[in-house]
């Protein structure tokens, strides 16, 4: 499996009409019977292990996040991201799994751990990989990534968190927002600006002195997040990833965007199916409401948005598997499209369930809340379209 990681170049390159030549996708989009089996197994396992009733129980405070669940994901081999020269799951496998998890609203730190593994694989030292990789892959250690800062800042070039060299390593100072599963995690990957202007990525234990985790009180009970404050946190030299931090981050962005897009497509599809079913069962004026065009047409528009987003996501995942440079553009397109598709699905989902849709008891609200968070992770649609515009039309003057 190719290990070239596509990097998203800075936006100061002149506009390139070559970008309009859409990339050739790999044969069969790289999809094989193995992928099919994985997807089918995942859907089956998730429907038993994580029915919507469990998600609802969590949201209603009748259940708890289960750390053991994470271990089960490890046992299934789903955290086994293919590292350099390794066997394991590729970007397309993960995208297919993510879609199923989005469908189920699985309350587990699946993607955050994979993000951490991505960084480790691209930029970690052999020692870091040896120490951290096996336990993250097995699910025994929960890892996450601090990807954003205040004011919706997802661009490391704008980060204010700093790392300065010290006698035995580095000292980290700053604040990170929306760190997924930080209160449950063991290790967090933290990008910081360094005095020379580079980005350093540090593997930091969440129990390290100076690290304070403040859970955010979010609407989405299935994906808790926290603010992390780093107050003169001293880390060893070996905590710093050795590869180019910015390159590694750009690689992470491409995979993170693609996998989040897949997850949002799965969630949108679930809402579409809920609403579709309701439209066939709810009768008014002597007929199923789905027979009215005012109900039928928005469902079709949702279907179109979901299928378009799915095509973009699968294409981006296929390009990531082949290590193609255009993957980064496709990843951003997928994230933007999937964010919009999920937003449309939940809006129409609530609206078309009528009065019931407005209540706590309708399951669409669970997906609505996932949308509020997910669409903004690693940058929302506006953010990515702005980046794409710079790519296509040059930096905005």
């Amino acid at each position: 499996m190719s290990q070239r990681h596509p990097s998203f170049e800075p936006t100061l390159l002149p506009p390139d009409e070559g970008e309009l030549e859409l990339p050739a996708l790999p044969e069969n989009l790289g999809f094989s019977e193995e992928h099919q089996l994985l997807r089918d197994n995942a859907r089956r396992w998730l429907s038993e292990r994580c029915p919507i009733s469990e998600v609802r129980a969590l949201a209603e405070g009748r259940g708890e996040l289960q750390r053991g669940l994470h271990g089960e994901l490890g046992q299934l081999g789903w955290l086994d991201l293919a590292g350099p020269g390794d066997e394991g799951l590729g970007p397309l496998h993960i995208a297919l799994l993510s879609e199923e998890m989005g469908r189920s609203l699985l309350p587990a730190a699946y993607l955050p751990s994979l993000w951490a593994l991505t960084l480790l694989d691209v930029a970690g030292s052999p020692e870091q990989r040896a120490e951290l990789r096996p336990s993250i892959v097995s699910g025994n250690r929960i890892a996450t990534v601090a990807a954003s800062e205040a004011d919706d800042c997802w661009d490391p070039a704008q980060f204010r968190s700093r790392a300065r060299p010290a006698v035995e390593g580095f000292v980290l100072q700053g604040e990170k927002t929306h760190v997924l599963f930080a209160a449950q995690a063991d290790v967090v990957m933290v990008p910081c600006r360094e005095p020379t202007g580079t980005i350093g990525i540090f593997a930091v234990g969440l129990d390290a002195p100076g690290v304070s985790v403040q859970p955010e009180l979010g609407v989405d009970a299935t994906r808790p997040a926290a603010r992390i404050e780093l107050d003169d946190v001293r880390v060893a030299r070996s905590a710093r990833m050795v590869g180019d931090g910015l390159d590694a981050w750009r690689a992470l962005e491409s995979t993170a965007c693609t996998w989040l897009a897949a997850e949002m497509v799965g969630a949108a599809d679930a809402v579409l199916e809920l609403t579709r079913k309701y439209a066939t069962e709810r009768f008014q004026f002597g007929r199923a409401i789905g027979s009215f065009q005012a109900v039928k047409h928005p469902l079709v528009d949702t279907l179109i948005a979901v299928e378009q987003a799915r095509s973009l996501t699968l294409g981006a995942a296929a390009l990531l598997c082949s290590g193609a440079r255009p993957a980064s553009v496709a990843a951003r397109m997928a994230k933007a499209a999937a964010s919009e598709a999920l937003a449309l699905a939940v809006k129409k989902g609530v609206q078309l369930h009528g009065g019931f849709g407005f209540t706590w008891d309708c399951d669409v609200q669970l997906y609505f809340k996932r949308m509020l968070q997910s669409r903004g992770l690693f940058g929302d649609a506006v953010h990515h379209r702005r980046q794409l515009a710079a790519r296509l039309l040059g930096a905005q003057s």
Partner: protein
Amino acid sequence: MTGGLAETEELLEFRRQVKDWLADTKPAPPSFKLPQTFLEVESAEQLQYLKSWQACVYDAGYLGFDVPEQYGGRGVHPEKKRIVDQELARAHAPFFVNHLALGWVAPTLLAYGTEAQKKRLLAPLLRADEIWCQGFSEPGAGSDLASLSTRAIRTKDGWEFTGHKVWTTLAHFSKWMILLARTDPDAHKYAGLSFFLFPMESSGVSVQPLLKMTGEGGFNQVVLDAAPAPADCLLGETGQGWQIAMSTLLFERGAAQGASRERATVFLEQLKRLLSLARRRQRDGRSVAHDPVFRDRIVQLWIDVSAIAFSGARSSVPELIAERPMALPLMDKLVSSEWNQRLTELACEMLGADAALWLDDPNAPDGAAWPRGFMNSFGMTIGGGTSEILRNIIGERVLGLPKSK
């Protein structure tokens, strides 16, 4: 290289060949104005120019990659067809005037025609020696096509047709019409229809031009008054008309595999033209290409055309569409026609009040291509199944929602 699957060496060589041939052979633009699409061909000189071009491409061996050789085609090679279509689009070559015939008459003939019909009709169709039009819609039967009333009566020598067809593109130049008519008025609405290959040179045929909102011609009404045709003009069986027409409509809507990818190339060329416009246009002292509102709208079009292309590639992997196999094919025409409408509308918005400058005004940006294209875009969101009907069909066939009645 437009979101399709990666090509073999053989196909890459073929692509090079096509490119070279086009570079040598593409005709110079004519002195008169050409229509933007096959829907607006008005004059004999426009027709002649376009027929010559199609014949030229056919004679060079680059047309007919979906028709078996024994009928005058080049054998069925969808990848080669795709490559030719892409390179033609990239080279901004003239379109094929026999578009309707190529796109949906030929596949219909291949699916339902007798050997004699296929041998007689396909080669001249490919070469544009014989132009085809489509007699489906009537003044009283548009979206509700099955309610049509054009009557076909069996006579001693064959058939006799009486009725009124409308929106018949290219009828004024056509040798043949695919004609949907009622053979059994007592049968159930769908069961009483039959499909015919009607010779337009019959007596009793009157073709009257209709004008589009742009002032262009290209389509017509066709009045049939006891117009005769031989017995062998029936396609398939009597009573099979609706079934055949539905498959024709599927072809028309681009359900054939690969249509999305070809369309994506054409759309990319359109997007390039839009980018060029954005860079050249100034508003309030700066380039439209630097206006954040327009930048976002342009990027949305780029994302959506990428989705169209990737959906085309996804369609060829059965496992990736297995849960809703009809979704992408049924969405194709709807999504594409609306994309085109959004693009041409955006261009008009970029032009501000200059969008009102028309074809002969020396200051009309890009020769008024954008307001012309925007208005003409409604031909595609209405014709071949309105966007509203298509949403009904998708809602019913893909989402399983009950019919609206």
